[in-house]
């Protein structure tokens, strides 16, 4: 793009892998939004299991008197 000696089409070709990576990233973000929306709906309409303590990263000792 900044080298006048090279045709503009070179910069278009150089961009293609990055544009493809952007498409993959965009797809991941869209998928992430959908997963988030699903979790949010599940949370609001109380579809998930009822928990009284953290689901993950519980301290081992905590499990005994739960």
């Amino acid at each position: 793009m900044l080298d006048a000696a090279r045709p503009f089409m070179d910069s278009v070709k150089a961009t293609i892998p990055w544009l493809e990576a952007r498409s993959v990233g965009g797809a991941l973000m869209t998928a992430g939004h959908l997963v988030f929306a699903a979790h949010f709906i599940a949370m609001v309409s109380v579809l998930g299991p009822e928990r009284s303590r953290p689901a993950l990263f519980r301290v081992a000792t905590e499990m005994h008197h739960a």
């Binding site: 793009m1 900044l2 080298d3 006048a4 503009f8 089409m9 910069s11 278009v12 070709k13 961009t15 293609i16 544009l19």
Partner: protein, 196 residues
């Protein structure tokens, strides 16, 4: 929270500072910019084409702001001189664009003044620019068995033309092309146009 007043006061002060720098200051810099004598207001067809430019998303890949020689070889590519505020007098909103997946279009009317080239290029960019990654816009055209009176037939290289029938431009394509060929800001600037 120690003080709600302080929180909201601080937020308002930040917004006021940003507005002063981003809105008020540019307003005073630009409010008396006059259009260059060689720049004409858009015709209604060109304005409709401008809406198509926005609607088809041209702005996502095309800028309308040639850079200065010191910044980029835009002039060497034939994209024109660096633009000034007065060049955008009739543009509301401006369509500066932020990305150059494709070339700058601020002077596409000077570079490609041909209606045929522009129509054919919208129908199939690869027919005119090998290796182009621009999407084609077939829905702005219609393939008919035979052209009717008043139809604008698009001339295409034989290998890209449909096997049967002719390609006819829809009004949206004609408007868009009339906007594109109107993009010509190659006129020299008077001292008054370049501003302070």
């Amino acid at each position: 929270m120690r003080s709600e007043t302080r929180l909201f006061g601080g937020a308002l002060a930040m917004i006021a500072a940003a507005t002063a720098v981003l809105v008020v200051l540019p307003y005073f810099q630009l409010h008396d910019v006059k259009p260059p004598a060689a720049l004409h207001p858009y015709t209604s067809a060109q304005l409709r084409g401008r809406q198509q430019y926005i609607r088809q998303g041209c702005i996502y890949c095309h800028s309308q702001q040639p850079r200065d020689r010191a910044q980029a070889p835009d002039a060497a590519r034939g994209w024109g001189r660096a633009s000034v505020a007065a060049d955008y007098f009739y543009d509301s909103p401006h369509l500066l664009g932020t990305m150059r997946t494709g070339p700058d279009l601020f002077n596409i009317g000077a570079r490609q003044p041909s209606l045929d080239w522009n129509l054919g290029h919208l129908y199939q960019p690869r027919a005119f620019v090998p290796g182009s990654i621009m999407p084609s816009f077939p829905y702005l055209f219609e393939v008919k068995p035979k052209a009717e009176p008043g139809d604008r037939v698009v001339t295409l290289p034989p290998s890209f033309a449909p096997a049967h029938g002719v390609v006819v431009a829809r009004p949206a394509a004609l408007d868009l092309v009339s906007y594109l060929v109107s993009l010509d800001h190659t006129y020299p600037l008077a001292a008054a146009d370049t501003g302070p």
